[in-house]
């Protein structure tokens, strides 16, 4: 009896030894004195309470498995193991909430060639604040220059991975959907432009959709880049005669420029376009309008028009503002130049004031305004109280960092960047602290981010926050677009 027990124990020992030899465990991992190189790079980022799990994988194809333990500085742990982490959403939210204002320490072990390695721990900072808005909206589009491919406007819940289509052209060939823009992240008012056979400017306000004629003949173009007045009655637009050209050699593959552009204000109550010579100068190209949070100023950029296409790289935009009277809809008579970027050999685009009125974020590039194709484009911050301006060094990359928008509480912002691979723009989120410093941005989380982003042939465009689901009726909108009924707009000049 004793001998059979001995044999059984010995066999058990052999089996355990055999299994151990076959698969070493993270407990036996060899220590590596380096931070793990993970995708997305979530090392040392700052997140709001309520954000979806920050799943990641090793950025090394040779790593077959990853074993991750997340420990909160104020308690709680999470464990995930696999090719990529797949944190339980509810458990993740509980852990992050528990560590509000603290940090999550992340221990990563990765298996390579059958051996486990343990890297230096890194941390994810948890902000004191909640996720400011329900989600974000964006356009997803594949790179294409002459034909309209599949594209759509989508909304994404930030606390989960849920994405919903707002409007796409999958059943409407030849339709190009542009720039969905809410009023300060409030989807009760939003606008988007549709080009192609069923073209229109779709304006949602007062609980209903209005389809405006895509082109106003007196304006000589379409309503292109919008920005809502905080009061909701007005919406500023640029109108642009846009062209593109391609380089045979330069890294900037495509140049997008305007042979003509102006800025104007649209009155949603009267369907009138309020133009003024101060923002519609013949020899200047005004562009990228944005109202101040108090609604009393209209920011825009302007550049001296050039000879196109040869002098495309001499087109440099400066930041200006003009007063606006929302009670009368009148545009002021004096234009202030806030930053004469042209004199510094630079070009400013996409001014976006924070909704608390403290800052104005903009994109700075060497020339032009279509900065998402400029590798040198970076985000800058202008302090509207002190006039100080500086690049957001913790945010910028060596590749294009461009189109940005603020959260409704002004504490967070998102932007698009081509830092991943130089070709496809992705959405990143960051925050501005009380000291005015930006935190390291984090890539929009996905359940399996490495596969998701690697397999995607789409770029993210014109993202913005949304305080709640947009709740549009896409079928009704498509039906209305196909009907051809359009509201004409009337041009008025003071």
């Amino acid at each position: 009896m004793k001998s059979s027990k001995t044999i059984f124990s010995f066999n058990l020992l052999l089996i355990v030894a055999f299994l151990s030899a076959c698969s070493s465990s993270p407990q036996d991992a060899a220590l590596v004195d380096a931070l793990p190189v993970i995708y997305p790079d979530y090392v040392d980022v700052t997140i709001p309470v309520g954000i979806a799990p920050l799943n990641f994988a090793m950025d090394d194809d040779n790593a077959t498995d990853i074993d991750v333990v997340v420990t909160g500085s104020q308690g709680g742990t999470l464990h995930s193991k696999g090719e990529c982490t797949d944190f339980d959403i509810d458990q993740w939210h509980t852990l992050v909430e528990q560590n509000r204002g603290g940090q999550l320490d992340v221990t990563v072990c990765a298996q390579q060639d059958g051996q486990w390695k343990r890297y230096r721990d890194f941390c994810i900072h948890v902000a004191e604040t909640d996720l400011p808005d329900w989600g974000i909206t964006y356009r997803r589009i594949a790179p294409g220059y002459e034909m309209f491919g599949l594209m759509g406007i989508y909304e994404r819940e930030l606390s989960t991975f849920e994405e919903t289509t707002l409007l796409d052209n999958h059943s409407n060939e030849g339709m190009c959907i542009n720039c969905h823009t809410p009023n300060r992240a409030n989807p009760n008012q939003h606008v988007l432009h549709i080009r192609g056979g069923n073209g229109a400017t779709l304006l949602h306000t007062g609980g209903k959709d209005e389809l405006l004629k895509a082109v106003n003949d007196m304006l000589g173009g379409a309503m292109v880049y919008p920005y809502w007045h905080p009061g909701g009655r007005y919406c500023a637009f640029s109108t642009n005669k846009t062209s593109q050209m391609f380089h045979t050699r330069k890294e900037n593959v495509v140049e997008v420029y305007d042979t003509k552009s102006d800025v104007f204000v649209y009155d949603t109550e009267t369907h009138q376009i309020i133009g003024d010579t101060f923002i519609m100068k013949t020899l200047w190209a005004e562009n990228c309008p944005a109202f101040s949070p108090d609604g009393l100023w209209l920011y825009f950029v302007t550049a001296r028009r050039q000879i196109y296409p040869t002098d495309y790289d001499k087109e440099r935009y400066s930041l200006c503002r003009v007063s606006f009277d929302p009670t009368t809809g009148h545009i002021g008579q004096q234009v202030d130049t806030l930053i004469n970027a042209a004199a510094e050999g630079k070009s400013i685009s996409w001014p976006r004031p924070s909704y608390d009125g403290r800052y104005l974020m903009y994109t700075l590039a060497d020339y032009g305004y279509f900065t998402i194709w400029h590798p040198e484009s970076d985000l800058w911050l202008l302090d509207l109280q002190t006039g100080e301006r500086r690049p957001l060094d913790t945010v910028n990359s060596s590749r294009a960092d461009s189109f940005h928008n603020w959260s409704s509480d002004g504490g967070w912002f998102l932007f698009t960047s081509r830092r991943d691979d130089g070709r496809y723009s992705r959405i990143y989120l960051s925050s501005i602290g009380p000291d005015g410093q930006a935190t390291k941005p984090f890539l929009l989380p996905q359940r399996d981010p490495r596969n998701f982003y690697t397999q995607s042939l789409y770029s993210y465009n014109t993202p913005d926050f949304t305080t709640r689901p947009v709740g549009n009726d896409a079928q009704a909108q498509i039906h209305a677009l196909k009907s051809g009924d359009r509201i004409p707009t009337e041009m008025v000049k003071p």
């Binding site: 294409g144 002459e146 034909m147 491919g149 599949l150 380089h247 045979t248 691979d421 130089g422 397999q455």
Partner: protein, 210 residues
């Protein structure tokens, strides 16, 4: 047999012959056909095979109205020494409206790549991809995007396209061929065609294409 019937019979016979021809081509793994007009498809096949004399002859018999096919004819003429590089470049410079279909975009991508204009080859491949209006990538366009990324040294991008290609069975023949090059970009010296295009690209003067 009446003249009409004879004509109908001849047309039917031609149709069958063309169909059999295409089936035979398919069995031989000849270049793929995608979208576009029959004329563009015919030129595209000849272009992929480098049948320059046949391209010029086809145009002589029935001058083409397609911009992409005209560019193929000009390229063929240049290869045959019937026109100068300046004349060819002049013809190519106005690219507006040339990429009207998947086939024309793929043809233009081939033409640009042969001339070392990798940026333009990529642009045309992107347009071929979106012209499909499908979530499934066009194998030939995806291969071209991978090739261009390899030639320009954008290795992260080449890897991305390769990984996408490896998910689709129709892409596997070229992904197998290109994987070593993506893993070891320095091996481009062993690929004379890519090496040569990279050299041409690096010496290319920057020009605008509208």
């Amino acid at each position: 047999m009446t003249t009409e019937r004879l004509l109908a019979f001849k047309c039917a016979l031609c149709g069958v012959l063309v169909l059999v021809g295409f089936m035979f081509c398919g069995c031989q793994r000849t270049p793929e056909l995608v979208g576009g007009t029959p004329e563009e498809q015919a030129y595209d096949l000849l272009l992929q095979k480098g049948k320059w004399a046949d391209i010029v002859e086809m145009n002589r018999k029935q001058p083409t109205k397609s911009s992409a096919c005209r560019n193929a004819v000009r390229l063929a003429s240049w290869y045959l020494g019937q026109c100068s590089r300046e004349e060819l470049d002049l013809c190519l410079a106005d690219s507006h409206g040339v990429l009207g279909s998947e086939t024309s975009a793929l043809m233009m991508s081939d033409i640009y790549l042969r001339l070392g204009m990798v940026n333009m080859a990529r642009r045309a491949a992107f347009d071929a991809m979106v012209a499909m209006r499908s979530e499934k990538p066009n194998s030939r366009a995806l291969k071209r995007l991978t090739e261009v990324a390899i030639i320009t040294g954008e290795n992260e991008l080449a890897r991305k396209y390769l990984l996408i290609g490896e998910q689709h069975s129709d892409c596997l023949p070229w992904t197998k061929k290109l994987r070593p090059l993506v893993e070891h970009p320095e091996l481009i010296v062993n690929y004379p065609s890519y090496k040569k295009i990279r050299e041409i690209h690096e010496k290319l003067k920057d020009d605008f294409f509208l």
